[in-house]
Amino acid sequence: MYCSITTAGLCGIKGYPVNAEIDVAEGFPKLELVGLAHNSVKESVERVKTALKNTGYVFPYKRVTINLAPAQIRKYGSHYDLPIAVGILLASGQLEARQVQDNLLIGELSLNGEMVGVRGALAMVETARSRKLKRVILPIQNWQEVCFCDDIEIIPVSHFREVIAYLQQGRLGSETIELQKKIKHLSALQEGEEIGQILGISVNEGAVKKVDFADIKSQNVAKRAIAVAVAGMHHILLVGPPGTGKTMLAKAVPGLLPHLTREEMIEVTRVYSAAGKLLGKIPVITERMYRAPHHTITMAGLLGGGRPLLPGEISLTHKGVLFLDEFAEFPKVLLDTLRQPMEDKHIVLSRMNERADFPTDFLLIASMNPCPCGYYPDMERCRCSEYDIRRYHKKLSGPILDRIDIFVEVDRPALPSFQNVACEKPSQEYAGQIAAAQHIQKQRLHSENLLYNSEISTPLIEKYCQMDMAAAEILNGAYQRMKLSLRSYHRLMRLARTIADMEGKEKIEAKHMAEAFNYRVAYNKYFMK
């Protein structure tokens, strides 16, 4: 007897429908699994055999053929257990089910028939929705990540028996009904923060343990520069001697960013779901992510890759913060590969027979020492020759530096201000300023469908970055003195726009332009030598 079960496969962060066709026929007992199944899928048969036995069913002692269509795409993952198990019961006549065709089935089975969470559930549920299927049966472990999907019925189950009960009699377990109520409630909410609270994910669990600006002594210049960077989503490079708090400053950034919106939460969760990173403590992403990969990272680790294609660090920090410590120690080739994803905000990875498109809208915070020994320009301590320093700076290629808007030096705090503990402004104060600046940008750029000043394209600059006479004078002076490129000229205007927005000023003034210029000047002075 033949039957077909609808399930889904995963390619990158997108799902595609897969039909698990099962045929049980008379003949010499044998099992064939066709449809380009990867080893991770082939093992599924052994699990299904045992799980069926342990839940009181029999694996047919007949000729069993399983086909995963479309057969030309390679299938990965353990989530084909459930459709195969259900299909075998149907095809061997052990199960009489109604409305199997309207369901999407995904899930891994343990040997005793319990459901196990799977990678990429969100993308697969979205596939079901776009295919106009009525409901999705999936492991209970995946219920939080798919709670954003309204207009499709989600049936989270914890055991194979519940699946059978539902398919046979349309009966749902009490736990499932409880969860479905929660999902309905959540689908009405818009704010990411609220959703996180209802799901029981505390703010600190989602991202790293946050650092508050109030915990960092002095460094007002760097704090200000970071606030500007965050407000306009300008990439930033912190330069400073070892042990001055560059890493702490970077860790404080997630706390400055506004909360994720519902749409952003879905986007980020989709990436994490596809990467298989949601099965631990964090079942859904509700906070901006902060990741700090070590400089020995491989290209596949940074950009994404492998088989199956998994998202890399730049996608895992989508809508979040990518902190690259010891920026100059990263291999030059690796940094240069960041150029396109930084510009396009997504990356398309192509392998022989796979192609995946991952989002990469991250804020880059890089940090490095000013010279190999780390103490320049303190000539009393620095032991590097001018040549050493130049060679150190040369490790960063021009194009990648050109994409960084702010260069700021972090200084060793002097003793007096270090002891003066009370006066540090907390992150919250900066965050308020940033939120206000971002609101202004959103209003202004609404018609262009943009969010931040850093995204303003060159033809629009004149329109949106208006300045007064004094500011224009400084800009022109800078252009002539520093021999700026036209691209740098435009970057200055965008940056000054953000600085002016932080004060809520309509037009860019001289002091805004001067500050922007000082953030950019190091680039021309040191890295272009």
Partner: protein, 382 residues
């Protein structure tokens, strides 16, 4: 054979340095005459002069069999457009003949013909490769004044003081001589490649080494004697406690050149050498304008001073300027001190920098630039 080939032959004799070459030349005058002298007379002479050893005579005779190498070198030099300036030529620097170890031949690439090495004033500038903002400003000013007073600037093409002074000199239309330690084929350090190209166009590069000689460490102190030898006065801009510039100063002392040291603050590592020289009796470079006027024999600058000390600074700018010294100051300190808002401080600093009072030497670090050209000279008491 051509005269040039004889000179190359003289250089090719192994074991014979500049001192021995000069002793032979004092007797015979030119390399050509030396080449054609009979072996007996040479042997007699070498026995008489204590400095020569037995193997010097053997090498002397052997080298005549090995002229192919010299011919090859000559062809190479011609192909590269290098001039060979030997003792017998009128444009050979006369000050080098006074030295017991002056090179009998120098190779020149660039504009040797236009040099006023024997007619005009010549000044040597040396100093550290690890230059501070103060040293950079002084070196650049010296280079500029050399150009404006028409003084030939001699230096060693190194990073730091040398390069800064020479760049500034060429930029203002002056003439400079770069003395290399290596052969003329090499451009060392590579970071000064632009300067090498400019020097060939506007100044001249000279070396006493064969064309392909690499920049070996032992050649640099040897080269320094030519720098001080060419000039009538030597300025040491910045020098640490152990510095090649001090070697140059020693040579200058032996050669009877005037040594001027640029004073620094005690405790500044890059000024230790200079201050030590002053302690030893070197002149202090007090007022650059007066120094150059004296050196050039009372001639006037081609361009008058354009900076105006009385340029009005805004009150805030004045407050900030007073806080910035020769040591790098971090902008965060200035914020803490003045209590002003970031944007305003940034704007004032930018204005100060563009007016030429301060320099941002690294992102957020500022130093004051010495207002060298405007220092009043103290009235001497009667």
């Amino acid at each position: 054979m051509q005269n040039e080939l004889y000179w190359l032959w003289l250089l090719s004799i192994r074991g014979l340095g500049a001192v021995k070459q000069n002793i032979l030349l004092r007797e015979w005058g030119t390399a050509g005459q030396l080449y054609h002298e009979t072996a007996e007379r040479i042997e007699q002479f070498m026995k008489k002069e204590k400095i020569f050893q037995a193997k010097d005579f053997q090498e002397f005779c052997r080298s005549k069999q090995d002229m192919g190498k010299c011919r090859q070198e000559l062809n190479l030099l011609r192909a590269q457009g290098v001039e060979i300036i030997s003792r017998e030529q009128a444009d050979y620097p006369s000050r080098l003949t006074e030295m017991i170890d002056g090179p009998p031949v120098v190779f020149a690439k660039g504009n040797w013909q236009t040099s006023k090495i024997n007619s005009g004033p010549v000044l040597a500038v040396v100093g550290t490769r690890r230059i501070t903002a103060y040293g950079r400003e002084v070196a650049a000013t010296i280079g500029k004044f050399c150009a404006e007073f028409g003084i030939t600037l001699v230096s060693g093409m190194a990073a730091g003081v040398d390069g800064t002074a020479q760049r500034s000199c060429l930029k203002h239309g002056g003439y400079s001589i770069g003395v290399l330690a290596s052969g003329l084929a090499h451009q060392f350090p590579a970071g000064n490649r632009d300067l090498y190209l400019d020097m060939e166009k506007q100044g001249v590069l000279i070396s006493e080494e064969w064309y392909q000689t690499p920049p070996l460490a032992n050649l640099f102190p040897k080269r320094n004697r030519i720098i001080s030898g060419l000039a009538e006065a030597v300025i040491v801009v910045e020098a640490a406690d152990k510095s090649g510039s001090l070697i140059t100063a020693d040579y200058a002392l032996e050669q009877g050149r005037d040594i001027y040291a640029v004073p620094g603050r005690i405790g500044d590592r890059q000024s230790v050498g200079c201050n030590h020289l002053i302690g030893q009796g070197a002149y202090i470079l007090e007022n650059i304008e007066k120094f150059f006027a004296d050196l050039s024999g009372g001639s006037q600058r081609t361009k008058p001073c354009q900076k105006n000390l009385a340029e009005n600074l805004e009150p805030v700018e004045k407050i900030l300027y007073q806080q910035i010294g020769t040591e790098p100051v971090y902008i965060g300190r200035l914020l803490e001190y003045t209590g002003l808002e970031q944007g305003e401080v940034q704007l004032c600093l930018l204005q100060l920098e563009w007016k030429g009072y301060i320099e941002q030497i690294s992102a957020g670090y500022y130093v004051a630039l010495p207002q060298i050209e405007q220092v009043p000279f103290p009235k001497s008491k009667p």
